[in-house]
Symmetry: C2
Subunit: 289 residues, 2 copies
């Protein structure tokens, strides 16, 4: 900064702040800050933000940070409801393969390692469900030894970290490894649609703007295989509510999967479940790096 930093006006302060980052040694950090500042300043100027509104924004952001703990990430939630998570995921998504979608705020604990066929529903839900899939290269080659990290909510719409007194840690979570055919499968229950947590500042924002907090039912996946770009995505349960109005803007048509009802006893025996059960079949296609 130099003497232009004195007597700054609405017209000159933005350039002075941009200039203040000139000596940042990391060129990317410099670029990010020098592009962020003009947008934030333009927002203040265009809206003629009042001091009371500025104070309210400070208090809101402080409350968002203070709501975060080991099992709650309110800033991800804020990013999600403003579409920033989905936009960032979209511009970084692979050009080939399965579409990506948001990470969401519930990937907070390490998923327990499980073997193919294991059940991630530790509560004994009402309707058993089998998810089978493969991890594939973009040309269709199966990828053995790929990791498939899975997390989902219960039939009642809660993740384990939201109900530490009601759910064992790791309920609805599993870290699987694909077999020699690139395949994985696990038992679970069909997840419910659910509201994102509304007992914090992001919930207040949604309420104040008359936006509903619901997400359509889905199962989260992160698939990773050496030599390939990591894929963060969901499968959405077909025909459920909120597929057209996801509170976090994350639905892709290509990620909606049928969770068909099966009553074939032979198939039930194969997967170790009772009839009737539901089955979802998905391929996770990764782009080579």
């Amino acid at each position: 900064m130099n003497s232009t930093a004195k007597d700054l006006t609405e017209q000159t302060v933005t350039a002075a702040v941009v200039e203040s980052f000139t000596h940042a040694p990391d060129p990317r950090l410099r670029e990010l800050l020098q592009k962020l500042v003009p947008h934030l300043h333009a927002f203040v100027c265009e809206t003629r933000l009042t001091l009371l509104e500025w104070e309210t924004a400070i208090e809101f952001l402080t409350a968002v940070g203070q709501k975060c703990d080991d099992t709650r990430q309110e800033f991800i939630l804020l990013s999600d409801v403003l579409g920033i998570s989905m936009l960032t995921e979209t511009i970084n998504g692979a050009r080939q393969g399965t579409e990506s979608t948001v990470l969401g705020p519930f990937h907070l604990t390490e998923s327990p390692k499980r073997a193919n066929g294991d059940c991630i529903d530790l509560l004994g839900g009402k309707v058993p469900c089998v998810v089978t899939g493969r991890v594939l290269d973009a040309d269709g080659t199966p990828l053995p030894g790929a990791s498939v990290d899975v997390w989902q909510c219960t039939e009642d719409g809660f993740y384990d970290v939201q109900q530490p007194d009601l759910q064992p840690a790791g309920n609805g979570r599993g870290l699987f490894t694909t077999d020699g055919d690139g395949a994985f499968h696990f038992r679970t229950v069909v997840p419910s649609h659910y509201p994102i947590p509304t007992d914090g500042p992001v919930g207040e924002l949604l309420a104040a703007t008359h936006r509903h907090p619901y997400r359509p039912a889905h199962i989260h996946f992160i698939a990773e295989a050496s030599g390939h770009t990591s894929l963060t995505t969901h499968i959405f349960v077909a025909n459920g509510p909120y597929l057209d109005s996801d509170a976090v803007f994350a639905v892709k048509q290509s990620l909606i999967a049928d969770f068909s009802e099966v009553s074939d006893p032979a198939l039930a025996e194969k997967f170790g479940v009772a009839v009737p059960f539901r089955i979802a079949e998905i391929d996770l296609v990764l782009e080579a790096t």
Copy 2:
């Protein structure tokens, strides 16, 4: 939201998020959010923000929120070093009268009520200082009964809330009322230039970008009188370091005051201080509402 909320792309997600706020009942909240979202999205797109950078930003903002407590406001500090506080103060400043500047992060406690002539330096600093001033209407009429809230750091550059073990609460603070002539005066010490707190995420940001954290020496004021716009400002100590490179972009030439040395025993006796002492004389001119 409607069915356009499915399969959103880089090109369509911004409009979908803006649309999601259409039913916000408060038109101003709706306007603020509908103008904020395009700026944040444009920043993500222009910089091709990576997922790792997004994650770093989430962690940074979370840390900023978690650093806040009763005596620390790290989000104001962040707003300050990005020039947002000064810009907001500038666009809301009065068109007439004394120029305003930032509130800063240290107006956290209520200033103790003090009588004119009281000393706000409770530690017995090395060089006594007298500040005398008047609160005036823009046409020069004195404003009796106006409140003048004052806060400043010590000769060592720390506010009371930063050193709860070394300074009594209320050190460097006072809430004065102007007398029948619109005048106020108090005894203190000349404040030092100081670094904004660097032991948090904002300090890390400044260090990572090779920006210094210093503010030039100043005393904060909020002057209020009925029928007039409240004035938040500083007086800066002339000839000190960092007047040209304030870390929070808040220096106005018109707010720089001489803190002249006085050796006149009669004047010293009038104010109840020993010679030599320093004196600063200021008028705080308020705009009528």
